[in-house]
Amino acid sequence: MSAAAIPVEQIKTITMSIYRYDPTVDEKPYMQDLVVEIPTDKDIMVLDALHLAKQQEPSLSYRRSCREGVCGSDGMNINGKNGLACVTPLSEVLKRNKITLRPMPGLPVVRDLIVDMKQFFDQLEKVKPYLITKSDSPDIERKQTPEDREELDGLYECILCGCCSTSCPSFWWNPDKFLGPAALLQSWRFIADTRDEATEERLDDLEDAFSLYRCHGIMNCVSVCPKGLNPTEAISNIRNKLLTREKN
């Protein structure tokens, strides 16, 4: 979609205030106000507006891929709240014809709206985010009841966008020690899977002062998750599991 293709009467202008920083060119980050023409005959997503902005300012950088909320590329801070640009309707976030976009907080900025996700993925890898089995695999699939499979609903759908962990104050303070909501949700996804045979070692790995217990139940993760998942609940499930284990 280009602005040129839209009839004049169906255009309005908005201001997009966007965090800009290219370390090879800029001494320090700055906010750039771009006046962008958008169509009025239909609602567009924040990502569509970014594409229009990039047509005037080709150096503007952000990640994007599926544009339908399943790949997790375009997590960013939209008017102060983390979300996915591709599934956030512009109409919902436009205030006085203006929108402010910044990179997700808490991680180093690579350029413009792009953050370095290394810390986020390092924490994910610590929870061994894969099925661990010790028994031999059958010739066909491992059996699992529909009820047992249902335990994974609300967990397996995570898209690793990083919106939750980068909105979590505990993760901001200790990004190397506290695993963060996304990684802990994945940890529970495997503990909760009846096919997984490594619950004890998974719990052992979490039993220190930081990995899990730095969650203070602030629940920013829940309020920003674009998939409607609940990492806080997953974290409390792990806590309960640890507690009952101690009792036994």
């Binding site: 280009s2 293709a5 290219d22 370390p23 090879t24 060119v25 239909k42 990039k54 047509q55 080709p58 150096s59 950088s61 952000y62 990640r63 994007r64 891929s65 599926c66 544009r67 339908e68 909320g69 399943v70 790949c71 997790g72 590329s73 599934v87 309707p89 690579v110 350029r111 413009d112 792009i114 370095d116 996700m117 993925f121 890898e125 061994k128 985010p129 894969y130 099925l131 089995t133 695999s137 010739d139 066909i140 699939e141 491992r142 059996k143 699992q144 009841t145 529909p146 047992d148 499979r149 994974l152 397996y156 759908e157 898209i159 690793l160 495997f190 899977d193 096919r195 997984d196």
Partner: protein
């Protein structure tokens, strides 16, 4: 050395691997898993973090005769359906291999942890999909598509990423592969690639290079494809002098959300949904009396397009069709199709448990691609003879092995990518055991692979990428869509030839080395353009209607002249023919029949 400097081969740092896989989607990560588990030094080069690859968007499932829903199901019936679906230009040896090896590949995924939905017996849940039958078309609708709700692709991709983490695969995430390095013996000896974040550029040398770069649906303006689907592997192969096969065959998925283009799975119809025109008529009953809404995708897409063309479309502009699901009840809709519910609300503003979804046929899948054998080895055609390209492999959507022929069945793409990603991995593993030597490239060979990048960096004027992309997409949409016509295609080809000069000489304004998405988009545009041009020229050359290729001026299938693959080379822009494989190993070949559903 940085990507925005003048890059000379002699100064270029080198990385070395046994095997490299370009692309971190389902096919790439299935291949890399095989190699990493066998202890080979393997790297995946992916321009996005692997779980952002387009496999993530696959919804409905992976079709395979695992005998869960029906204990008597037979992979040969699946093979029959796939051959028929291909309109008889799918290679039968490859289809036989896919359908018979499929169960093994699917069970492996389950063992890795893929969270399939389950039956009461605890087995993998299967749903009906289009073009499926029992007993070689004689036993009615089959139920053969294995599903994880309507998020099968997401589940599959994440599972493969997890398994690769476990296996210790090297990931070069957010690295962009520019071009293949070919030595003077015509062997592929790696790629030129750069790290997007910093711009550091390398010659990545390998004994085996696997292209698993997926599709190129972004040649059209309306597509279900991710923005990253730019046919990078096709561009690289064509520039390196390899051919593409059946590239004119593009699938238009019946149900893309009107306006947004996002996919609504065929599984909706598998679960009992159906299509309606403005009169509230279930029109598919007229076009496909037996299979109705579960006819093959090409058939359903054409029927929908005809309804719209003949004035029976829905909405104020009569430009779409309704997909009705509300009669299934909120229980089924929310449990079996939770992702669709979410997408419909976001992109169409409707809750499918209450209101119909406005849909329209939308570009979805590239049946054609780089020709390979069942081991994933790339084939070039010289004087009518197949010749294996040394060191180069392809798997998944970028490849044309060919299991989809003129039309792919729903659920067969996920099966294709795991079966043939795995097959390429197995073959490379075995050949490395036998001993494969690392071949060298000369400075000249590497410089040749750097030409494109250096030219773009040196550009001081020219057209903007976004303008060229829109021009190409409109052209493809208008002239090479669901219905095609010789005169329009010739006009389209003429327009493309003008765009070609502009694409070769476009302007990259932003020369930064740091996460420069403008440079990526420019390089992607050149790849897309190679695909568009190949599609256009080949489509005009195939003077018949077969599978997804429907010509108003040649409405009949022409088996006398076109029961053939098309082969296209970018260098000559010429189209030749290649025999279709009718030599399955364990069953009798299925002979062409009239195709009705």
């Amino acid at each position: 050395m940085l990507v925005n400097e003048v890059i000379n081969a002699k100064d270029l740092p080198v990385m070395e691997f046994d095997g490299i896989i370009v692309g971190g989607g389902g096919a790439g990560m299935r291949a890399s898993l095989q190699l990493a588990e066998s202890g080979l030094n393997t790297a995946v080069i992916s321009k996005v973090f692997p779980t952002r690859s387009h496999t993530v968007s696959a919804q409905g499932g992976i079709t395979c005769a695992i005998q869960s829903d029906d204990p008597d199901d037979d992979w040969r019936w699946h093979m029959f359906d796939t051959v028929k679906g291909s309109d008889y230009i799918g290679d039968q040896e490859a289809i036989e291999y896919m359908c018979s090896e499929g169960p093994k590949a699917v069970f492996e995924l389950e063992h890795m942890g893929l969270p399939f939905s389950r039956t009461e017996e605890g087995r993998i849940y299967q749903r009906p999909f289009g073009g499926q039958s029992k007993d070689y078309g004689k036993g009615g609708q089959a139920t053969r598509t294995c599903a994880a709700a309507d998020r099968t692709g997401h589940s599959l991709l994440h599972t493969l990423y997890q398994a690769n983490l476990k296996a210790g695969t090297n990931f070069l995430n957010e690295w962009f592969a520019v071009d293949l390095v070919l030595n003077t013996d015509d062997a592929v000896v790696g790629v030129i690639a750069f790290k997007i974040e910093t711009g550091e550029i390398y010659y990545i040398k390998s004994k085996a290079t696997v292209l698993a770069t997926g599709g190129a649906g972004r040649i059209y303006s309306s597509t279900t494809n991710a923005l990253i689907n730019s046919g990078d592997g096709i561009g690289m192969a064509l520039r390196a002098g390899m051919p593409v096969q059946d590239i004119e065959m593009w699938q238009f998925h019946p149900t893309g959300i009107h306006g947004a283009g996002t996919l609504v799975t065929e599984g909706c119809r598998g679960e009992g949904g159906y299509l309606l025109n403005k009169d509230g008529e279930r029109f598919m009953e007229r076009y496909a009396p037996n299979a109705k809404d579960l006819a093959s995708r090409d058939v359903v897409a054409r029927s929908m397009a005809l309804e719209i063309l003949e004035g029976r479309g829905c909405g104020p502009n009569a430009d779409h069709i309704f997909l009705r699901l509300d009669h299934l009840g909120p229980e089924v809709v929310h449990k079996r199709l939770p992702g669709i519910t979410e997408l419909s609300k976001t992109f169409a503003g409707v809750d499918p448990a209450v209101q119909p979804i406005p849909v329209v046929p939308t570009c979805h899948y590239m049946m054609g691609g780089i020709p390979t054998n069942i081991n994933g080895q790339v084939i070039s055609v010289e004087n009518g003879e197949d010749k294996i390209v040394d060191g180069l492999f392809a798997a998944g959507e970028v490849a044309c092995v060919s299991v989809h022929g003129g039309n792919r069945l729903g659920g067969n793409s996920l099966l294709d990518l795991v079966v043939f990603g795995r097959a390429a991995g197995l073959y490379i593993e075995e050949s490395m055991k036998q001993g494969v030597e690392m071949k060298n490239a000369s400075v000249d060979d590497i410089d040749k692979a750097l030409e494109r990048l250096n030219k773009l960096n040196a550009s001081t004027q020219g057209e903007q990428v976004s303008i060229l992309k829109e021009k190409m997409q409109q052209n493809m949409q208008n002239n090479f869509g669901v219905f095609r016509r010789g005169d329009l295609m010739e006009k389209g080809i003429e327009e493309l030839s003008h765009t070609r000069d502009e694409v070769d000489n476009m302007f990259l304004q932003d020369k930064s080395a740091t996460f420069n998405t403008a440079r990526i988009e420019a390089l992607e545009m050149q790849n897309l353009f190679e695909v568009a041009e190949a599609t256009a020229i080949t489509a005009n050359e195939r003077k018949e209607s077969r599978g997804a290729h429907a010509r108003d001026d040649h409405p009949e299938r022409d088996d006398d002249n076109w029961l053939k693959h098309s082969i296209y080379y970018a260098e000559t822009k010429e189209v030749s023919k290649r025999d279709v494989n009718y030599r399955p190993k364990t069953v009798q070949a299925f002979q062409p029949m009239v195709r009705s559903y």
